[in-house]
Subunit: 322 residues, 4 copies
């Protein structure tokens, strides 16, 4: 199967952190769109709600994407940058805030419909906790679950991809790892609730991504989306694929195929001090390389995975890497 | 409710690691039993299969425990020290080894029945993987799930507590965290499959134990057992409760009560260089202290958890700690 | 000895992260100063260069601090928020940027002199690297060392406290841990170059702070300053002291005294979603509590530290904590 | 320069951990020696004191190595498996134990002399601490330093390579990271005290090995020895080089050359469940591959390191890897 590559539009923009409010200059949305369209292999784009797209600009964006030959891969509601949600969105202790979060997401779902976009990628970054004995884990998770259930029921044609991440911006997120996100997806009783793996988030969670892909399959084919990047495992460094790790990406592609994943491979990076288009383009080029190895050596890999001999695996890897 | 405290018998014995084969002298089983019975507040004991108990010694052990006034809290089949299982037990690539592991566990289940012991604590420490592209995550997890399902179906009066741990002795365990263990428990379709939290394993997994307790409740009241110890978060140091962390233990007891946990609080430590009875006894004394604080201040804690103000929580904690 | 407590002025201000540009409202400098002066036990303040103080406002600030009865504890040059230093300040590959960083620091040193402030706290947050094979560790460390040597030689009456941190904003900082900072301090050949321990940074680095205090003493009494906060060890969460850890703070105060530390205990937090004054005040109250325990039980602690019996230590801690 | 490859003899033997006392069968010393001699590219061997060599067997071993054409690369005194040192060797609170450790090391130094072996590799694995408020960091480090100074002074023709490791078997080692080991080496005042980098230990410590190589050079050319293996960063998994990480090994070789390292590249693995000779051989083959890339592209790497453009580095790596 041919891989479909995408990127998140905002990755092509300015960068900041809690110390420095601006590392680069602010490009316009149009500049970012053009940069995305120029990336080799990229045929899809993800848009963050409100930043990149609002109800009143959806039509215009649709035209722009069509002109550039880009699919709208997902809409990502902004539940993390808006400080109304500073202590949680769907799981906020404040019922009015929870309602706002749901209403806002509905608008984003409507936009997704309008854009012929199948996926709403939910990253509820502010939903979690920091201090012990200051969160009601039971009620807050229940509220989170209720909101997702409500939205998934109201929009049965959309797929809700829950993007998990163990921490940041909270010290602990409610959707922290693959398995707890699957538990929640199952609790909704909705087949259109699944998971988005961000490879870096999974590294932070101590997961081997290939195993997480299998978990999602076993829980009812719930892998809906993939975000790619690399890091040093301890934090979401959002770096170029292949910067730190190599072998695991080859393994991921193998297991995506074994689990019959047909979705997008989208780049989600944060090039603080790098040329954004260059950094995103590199990630895709690495994945293309790993894909080529896989296509050539799939039968050997099948055998190695069945055999379980680390020395044989190493010998194989040496023959295809370097 | 009155807490029930227990310990794992082997914790009172000799210690070793991969470098040093013996830090202490080997006490006899009887010496360890007496030491356990002398521990203040301890009324139950966990026995590791084969080491502490075998089919032919079960009757004798039953008498010994009765004489010492100790309940048999759980049987822990040895799936980790026996090198037949060096590359997995229930999930071994070798069908004969899988069968051996199941047959062996059956014997342990029979012993549990004979000892009037409700819980079989399953820690499949060798079931996992080390190297990338050398494991078949899909088949191996399926085999693991099949074995647990089979055993839980055959022994409906026993409760199977799956003890998760992210790593060691494998770099990655198949039962790694609370949520993936719950997924597997649910897949079995058996109500008598649940989870054992080892607090130190949960710390290693980046979990806040109180939240894990809630996850288990939400997944069908599946928290069956608790093992207590402390560590520096990066590894299973198996230290005295309260050595590194303080507040989280108070929070755990609060949430155990909120989630209506009625099981044992069992100590699972590894006192490499410490007096074993002293180290285990200390853990229980710490828990008694936290329990006393909880009994006195439960209403305040209810309020703090509802309120979500970290400064108020800190003020309260200062007033009860130190 | 009486402890001297301080805070960093900016901790009382607005908060942000790379996702959300503003969690709170922006207080004025005067409002923050008043809030600081109202904190119980606080008699000193640290000022971040350019944000809080510039050459042209130094006189005014001096008067304001005098009016409020606050000492100026340190000046912290802004080498982290200014995007001129996005790829390093003293260790930038660009000689002009290195020169700018040195010239700018000179201005901050002049201000320190004017404010009768003894310490310049150097946190070169942007000096480090992210990607492998993209940094010249040898030259860049040499440039860093040269800059510090130059400044320390030019300002012999000031003490330069190097604040280490393993990561953030770079994935790897050049001043990453206590020991490498001491190596650099020794290389300068200047007695007025030492170290600032931020307790949270040390936790991130896997250090036990008490041992780091001893390292600094052994390397020529080079512990110049202390920043306090707490975290979950994996990241610089900048939380209230005592939120996660308890025992280690008591141990720190004991070793600060054993090593004859006479400097400030300054709070360095980042209360993203908390009342800032409340959060900082709590940290100080916790330290006061630990200090009181220490004053009462110093002889017992001397004995425990000499004895090395973890069970005895635990028994003691239980008697003074909870 | 031609690389010199070696292995630690015991790596070819049986394996165990704290749960399973024997994963394999015990080969004889002679079998292990032959296996080592058969490893492609291996021309040197490291011997662990007492296990592999004692005063009374040194002559015999010398002959055996000569027959097999192997150099004796280092003697590693056993300060970790002997339970006399269960609470420390050179830094034990017990003066008699400290004396024993020194006397024992003298014997190992004599053997080194007899074997024409230049390096004594000191890994004081039991020297450290586990519990807070139970160690006297000041005295214990001083004792450690005194012992090393004494030995290095008595044996001026030997090079003492201090092998650091942040943890295991203690939760905290006194020789934990590159920089603190360098501080201690400098304190001895002896030029023949330096450091051994075990790449996996450095990963555990959060170090980028290439930077650690530079630190050792800056502190007086104190990199004496190298142990190679790979891991997932959180623990000393002692795996095959290249299993998890790729790029960093290429970077290490580059910086070893830039820092004029002329020592051995020795494999230090722990193949729990793998064919030992196969696993060690694989590591060397990977290093040979990285070396070949380096030899071909050194000028490009020089440029990339000077340039600091992560996108350019990635592009280069893609062209040489895969």
């Amino acid at each position: 199967m041919k891989r479909k590559y995408a990127a998140i539009l905002g990755n092509l923009g300015n960068t900041c952190d809690r110390f420095c409010s601006s590392y680069k200059t602010n490009p316009s949305t149009l500049e970012m769109l053009k940069a995305a369209a120029n990336l080799p292999n990229v045929t899809g784009i993800e848009l963050v709600g409100t930043w990149d797209i609002k109800p009143e600009t959806a039509g215009e964006m649709k035209t722009a994407l069509a002109d550039l030959g880009l699919d709208c891969v997902s809409i990502i509601p902004d539940l993390f940058a808006d400080n109304r949600y500073w202590k949680g969105s769907y799981s906020s202790k404040d019922a009015a805030v929870r309602q706002e979060a749901i209403d806002y997401t509905r608008k984003m779902c409507d936009i997704a419909g309008e854009m012929n976009c199948e996926i709403v990628n939910i990253w509820p970054g502010q939903d979690g906790y920091d201090y012990l004995l200051a969160a009601d884990y039971e009620k807050e998770r229940e509220w989170l679950c209720e909101a997702i259930t409500l939205l998934a029921t109201e929009y049965p044609k959309l797929k809700f991809a829950l993007e998990y991440k163990p921490k940041e911006p909270r010290t602990h997120s409610y959707l922290a790892r693959m398995a707890d996100s699957l538990l929640l997806a199952q609790e909704t009783g909705c087949d259109n609730v699944g998971v988005c793996i961000d490879t870096g988030h999974a590294f932070n969670a101590g997961e081997v991504v290939a195993e997480s892909i299998v978990l999602a399959k076993r829980a009812g084919n719930r892998l809906f989306h993939m975000h790619f990047n690399d890091n040093y495992t301890a934090w979401d460094d959002d770096m170029i694929v292949g910067s730190i790790h190599t072998v695991c990406y080859l393994e991921m592609l193998y297991w995506l195929d074994r689990c019959d994943y047909k979705g997008w491979l989208s780049m989600d990076q944060y090039p603080y001090r790098e040329d954004a288009a260059g950094a995103i383009g590199e990630s895709i080029e690495w994945l293309c390389k790993f894909d080529k190895i896989l296509q050539t050596h799939r039968a050997s890999i099948d055998e190695l995975v069945a055999q379980g001999d680390a020395v044989a695996t190493s010998r194989f890897l040496r023959s295809v890497i370097c």
